[in-house]
Symmetry: C2
Subunit: 165 residues, 2 copies
């Protein structure tokens, strides 16, 4: 496929039809806007911004939320399992886990069948926090994707999973 190279207006020239409008013209993004990677990142950034804003009250970043949500549904999971599931490198999970332990949200107990491992469990405080946080995230996700119908949102998630699963 040849590179689509129709109309290459010099951004230096005045806007077409405009009376010498020097205002910030929108640039032509014809190539980028067709890319899955570019668009996935842009959409992710929008959700991320709203996430940061809404989850600040809970003191949770995205990685924290993912870990707590995973532990809520997988009590006793190990560090290694969390890393494998979330594609986080073990050294980068350590301080995250330690911080949530300090906050009293999780506990590290000896693993029943592997002396090297530690089973991670939510404390009652952790259970309550993640329950609230999950509701907040569902709400914020709905707002971030408000221009999509419920059906479209489902389609979007399914297609994204076809890319990475």
């Amino acid at each position: 496929m040849a590179t689509t190279r129709k109309k290459i207006p010099d951004a230096t020239a005045p806007a077409t039809g405009g009376a010498a409008a020097l205002k910030a013209e929108r640039l032509d993004t014809s190539v980028l806007e067709k890319l899955v990677g570019y668009n996935a990142r842009r959409a992710w950034l929008v959700v991320t911004a709203l996430f940061a804003e809404r989850m600040a009250v809970y003191g949770l970043k995205q990685a924290d939320f993912s870990v707590l949500s995973l532990l809520a549904h997988n009590p006793g999971a190990t560090s290694r399992e969390l890393c494998a599931t979330l594609d986080i490198l073990p050294p980068n999970l350590v301080s995250l886990i330690a911080a949530m332990d300090s906050r009293g949200l999780i506990e590290r107990r000896p693993h029943p069948r592997d002396g090297r491992a530690l089973g991670l469990h939510l404390t009652p405080a952790g259970e309550q926090l993640i329950a609230e946080a999950e509701r907040a995230v569902v709400q914020l996700e709905a707002e971030a994707s408000a221009r999509l119908s419920a059906r479209e949102r489902g389609t979007l998630v399914r297609l994204l999973q076809k890319v990475y699963l």
Copy 2:
């Protein structure tokens, strides 16, 4: 909507039905897998990995590619316009532009109507590189989303844009 909390198996217990399989059980991701943000990031990571692998020969990272592609279709665009279009902060674009100037891919010329600004232009070498790079990216994107039909890929891009545009 109440938090879906059916079946909470202890990850510590043996796999259901399995004969004491201690192997890495897949964790239950029932909450995360419904989120647009989580899935958009996972899909983006897959495309990103392939991008890095394939674009190393051109010495281009994603930000470099975006800038060159934008300049190819918007000759004379300013730093400020690139920042606004790509959501990059001005200080973070400086070294990127300087590096591509050093490589002889772009030129900074005085802006015809604003003495503060600089118009950015691709050199012939830059034009050739981005032409090849764009073809490589189109190819790599097709591979990364190979499990999607052309129609699905179009739908995915359209739905992502509905989230951030």
